[in-house]
């Protein structure tokens, strides 16, 4: 069965500093990988996705993620965060044979002024 682990429940970081949010998955088949962002009291917005091809994926709001098959990871990065990036970030995985998205528990990104 597939599973997703987000290693940090909260990540505090100073404004304009770089950030990495970690995501590891377990799956025995090829997967699609996603990062979504959830602002308070809102739904989920897609940041970026990996379906195939280049392992470095660029998304919205200056975020990027790298698919590492050997380490089964899909970590999210941003070189310089802004106060508006304060939100919860979810990593999710699905496979070609599975219609559902499997989600991590989320990482709260806390921006310190």
């Amino acid at each position: 069965a597939q599973s997703v682990t987000q290693l940090d429940s909260q990540v505090p970081v100073f404004e304009e500093a770089p950030v990495e949010l970690r995501c590891n998955y377990s799956s025995s088949v090829s997967v699609y990988l996603f990062w979504y962002v959830q602002y308070p009291n809102q739904g989920l917005q897609l940041l970026l996705k990996y379906l195939s091809g280049s392992t470095l994926v660029k998304g919205i709001n200056g975020f990027e993620a790298e698919f590492n098959k050997s380490q089964t990871s899909f970590h999210l990065r941003k070189p310089s965060v802004h106060i508006s990036d304060t939100a919860e970030y979810f990593c999710a995985v699905s496979s070609g044979s599975n219609y559902q998205l499997i989600w991590g528990a989320g990482t709260k990104l806390i921006i310190k002024p």
Partner: protein, 113 residues
């Protein structure tokens, strides 16, 4: 263009009651999925419908049911509500059956008292 719309946005029900949540997908999207997000956790898959047929069901009791209409809108029904059903219920739509890109609505916040 309108995104995924869900109604109502908030709902308070009493234990034992029944509730119906509604979702309208993005125009042209034929797939609708439902997720339950309990506070502090990632979403959990409930159902997926594609072309009005159930394509996937998560690990939820039979008190949960759903359907998709000819216009691709969808309803999620929950019978005999329990306190533990209190959650944010999210609807996602996508153009095809596979989860290569899901667009989420704002969710319905259900509180069971």
């Amino acid at each position: 263009d309108a995104g995924v719309t869900q109604s109502p946005t908030h709902l308070i029900k009493t234990r034992g009651q029944q509730v119906t949540l509604r979702c309208s997908p993005i125009s042209g999207h034929k797939s609708v999925s439902w997720y339950q997000q309990v506070l502090g956790q990632g979403p959990q898959f409930i159902f997926q419908y594609y072309e009005k047929e159930e394509r996937g069901r998560g690990n939820f009791p039979d008190r949960f049911s759903a359907r998709q209409f000819p216009n691709y809108s969808s309803e999620l029904n929950v019978n005999a509500l329990l306190l533990g059903d209190s959650a944010l219920y999210l609807c996602a739509s996508s153009s095809g059956p596979m989860n290569t890109e899901a667009f989420f609505g704002q969710g319905t916040r259900l509180t069971v008292v």
